[in-house]
């Protein structure tokens, strides 16, 4: 490209070199590959593993604060409709039978459901304090996703809308939703992060 003269259309056509005509195709191909590489979905640049659990503990504390604030709310803090939330119970006999990817998938699915449910609560809450708590919870859910990504867990597509199964159930109150949020972070998310293989190898 740098070799091409910047001549207008009325200008005399530049004398074409034999070499230029032969190199033009590879150039275009290279450019195309580069563009495709940048836009390739599902593949981010590798992040440094976040193995410090203090980050998660901080998110758990903020989720507890949101739950406590919701318990004091009496008006303007209800869910517009029942929402699907993940199961939070952990039976270690069952959990240990799952491998790491399965555990990661379960955690990622649950985080996605929670983000959807808390997002719907955000639209119906009028209290400013609760609003800030809810926004904080949404940011923390997104950050946990980033942490999971840093630990090289495989990313799975979110479940489709209306998904239901043994790993989900429906709640109809905001306090129940935020309690589920706390229990999920304390349970499955914590178990997954604390036993990440990358961190067990002495990573940071």
């Amino acid at each position: 490209m740098g070799n091409r003269r910047a001549k207008g259309r009325n200008g005399e056509d530049p004398v074409r070199d034999y070499v230029d005509s032969d190199m033009e195709a590879p150039r275009l191909l290279t450019l195309l590959l580069m563009l495709l590489e940048w836009t390739r979905p599902g593949r981010a640049s590798p992040l440094r593993p976040i193995c410090d659990l203090r980050v998660l503990k901080h998110f758990i504390e903020e989720a507890k604060d949101a739950e406590a604030a919701m318990l004091t709310c009496k008006e303007g803090c209800g869910l517009p409709e029942p929402v699907t939330v993940p199961q939070t119970k952990v039976d270690f006999n069952v959990w240990e039978r799952k491998n790491a990817p399965e555990q990661a998938k379960e955690v990622q699915s649950g985080l996605w459901l929670l983000s959807q449910a808390v997002g719907s609560l955000r639209g119906s809450v009028t209290d400013a304090t609760l609003h800030s708590h809810i926004d904080n919870s949404l940011r923390n859910i997104f950050s946990i996703g980033q942490v999971l990504r840093s630990l090289n867990f495989q990313e799975y597509p979110p479940p489709g809308v209306g998904v239901s199964g043994a790993e989900t159930w429906r709640v109809s109150s905001a306090s129940e939703l935020l309690q589920v949020h706390v229990n999920f972070l304390r349970g499955k998310v914590h178990l997954l992060l604390s036993n990440a293989a990358v961190c067990q190898q002495g990573g940071s």
């Binding site: 758990i60 119970k89 229990n183 349970g187 914590h190 178990l191 604390s194 036993n195």
Partner: protein, 519 residues
């Protein structure tokens, strides 16, 4: 034989397993009792539940023996959120204080989900509770607690093995208690997510008792503090003496010692008097008592020149008695007129003279005479101070210097006009003040005499008279005046007359009676 050996080995193995199992069961029972006792004090709600691991849950409650029934009467129903109810078998055990302990143990649990627990007795709900199992951990105490000395002073390193619980390692917190052995002086330090700690700020050369307990940190998991481990004793390194501190201490000690010595030396006399007071020596008050008379007080009293005046001084603190010499001129003629109330007339003249002669002779023979003369002699020979002492006496008698003839009534002579010829005759070496002694100032007709009055004897008006004077020694104690009659060596002249003596007691009485002289 081989088969027998195998049988023996199998029996032995079974026996060991039974022993181990029994030991484990006993230990487990003890642990269970310990945890029950611990929870009994810290958990107010019923049933009291605790999880020892990530897969179990034990709940118990107690009832009085009176109300208690059999275990079968009780139902323990538990329900996880969004699940069906389940029942747990209840077991009864005797408890302290005559109570019955009922408990139920779940061997498979679900965490991070609400659990509803209901207890029924004969179909009647007696306890109802909702809890999250992961928030009720009661762990066993850490094991293998080891305490070691570090290279630095005042430090100990404690390390231990955390309870072997998967997934909970990073959620455990520990409390390390370290006290000086035998005392309550110590501290408690909190340790999170670590199985060792270095204790700082300890006393060098002291023996510490270290113990530890564990609990979950409360973020994802929570629970109660475990029981303390058995204490481990370890002494810290002995402290080294800092050279700077030692030198400063020595310098300060030296300075303080020098200051103390300086103060002591400057006040040594005062301190010696306080600690070891000097025994008072009365020698200064008794001149010659120890040096001359060797401490013989009686002898000193008898021969000291100031005996007359000094002796009364040690009996009477206020005034020294003054010796008084009262000389009277004895007239051979009896008074023509009867004496005024002060004196009585003598009986017959002849009889009187005879009596007087006899009295005088007797009196002459008595040693009093010599003693009196000696007293007078010593009195004159004493230097000034004694004389001045005598001079300083307030009470002494001044006699009139008039030359009375024998015609004068005796009472007049007795009262006032008695020359001190004996004093003049013995040779006076004292000062003129001696002339004042024994002089009786003429008083009024009442003859009253005050002890406070002073008497003067105009010595120059006293012509030396012949012998025959009587005199009296007067000792004035300030309260009373004692008069003792004396006589001179020239007693012959006195034999012819009546000697009248008067008793003076602070004041001369109005009535005087002649007192026959005792010789």
């Amino acid at each position: 034989e081989k088969k027998m050996t195998n049988d023996h080995l199998k029996k032995l193995l079974v026996y060991c397993m039974l022993c181990c199992t029994q030991k484990i069961i006993v230990q487990g029972a003890q642990t269970f009792q310990t945890k029950v006792a611990l929870l009994r004090h810290v958990e107010p709600n019923n049933p009291k539940c605790f999880a020892e691991g990530i897969r179990d849950l034990t709940c118990f409650w107690e009832e009085d023996e009176e109300r208690a029934g059999s275990a079968k009467q009780y139902s323990f129903i538990y329900t996880y959120q969004n699940e069906n109810s389940s029942e747990c078998n209840v077991t009864a055990l005797p408890a302290a204080g005559g109570r019955i302990l009922y408990f139920c143990r779940l061997s498979q649990t679900q965490l991070f989900v609400p659990l509803d627990i209901q207890v029924f007795r004969d179909g009647l709900l007696i306890h109802n509770r909702r809890l999250h199992i992961e928030l009720f951990f009661l762990l066993d105490p850490p094991v293998n607690l080891t305490v070691k000395r570090t290279e630095k002073q005042g430090q100990l390193k404690a390390s231990w093995m955390p309870p072997p619980l998967k997934y909970l390692d990073d959620s455990m917190m520990y409390e390390v208690s370290y006290v000086i052995a035998g005392t309550q002086m110590g501290q408690v330090e909190e340790v999170r997510a670590s199985s060792e700690v270095i204790l700082l700020g300890l006393q060098p050369g002291a023996k510490y008792s270290v113990r530890i307990r564990v609990k979950l940190d409360g973020v994802s998991y929570n629970g109660y503090w475990s029981a303390w481990t058995d204490p481990v004793l370890m002494a810290t390194l002995p402290g080294d003496l800092d050279p700077l501190i030692v030198s400063l201490t020595l310098i300060i000690s030296l300075i303080l010692t020098l200051l103390s010595l300086t103060v002591l030396l400057s006040h040594r006399r005062f301190l010696l008097n306080k600690i070891w007071p000097v025994i008072p020596n009365p020698e200064s008050k008794f001149q010659g008592l120890f040096t001359v008379y060797g401490g013989d007080f009686e002898e000193w009293l008898g021969y000291s020149a100031g005996g007359l005046c000094l002796r009364p001084a040690y009996f009477y603190s206020e005034e020294l008695p003054a010796p008084l010499e009262v000389l009277s001129e004895v007239s051979l003629d009896l008074p023509s007129s009867p004496l005024p109330p002060k004196a009585k007339q003598a009986p017959g003249e002849d009889e009187k003279l005879k009596r007087i002669d006899s009295l005088m002779e007797r009196w002459r023979e008595t040693p009093h005479e010599h003693w009196l003369m000696d007293q007078l002699r010593v009195l004159h020979q004493l230097p000034g101070p004694q004389c001045s002492q005598l001079e300083s006496q307030d009470a002494y008698v001044t006699l009139n210097a008039q030359n009375h003839s024998g015609e004068e009534p005796l009472d007049d002579i007795l009262e006032e006009t008695l020359p001190l010829q004996a004093l003049f005759a013995s040779g006076r070496t004292c000062s003129e003040s001696h002339s004042d002694l024994g002089s009786l100032q003429q008083s009024s007709g009442s003859g009253r005499l005050s002890t406070q009055s002073s008497f003067e004897y105009p010595n120059h008006t006293w012509p030396p008279k012949g012998p025959g004077y009587t005199y009296m020694a007067v000792a004035d104690s300030g309260v009373s005046m004692d008069y003792s009659p004396m006589s001179s060596s020239r007693i012959d002249y006195m034999g012819k007359g009546v000697i009248y003596t008067n008793e003076y007691r602070n004041e001369i009485p109005a009535h005087r009676q002649p007192i026959p002289f005792a010789f």
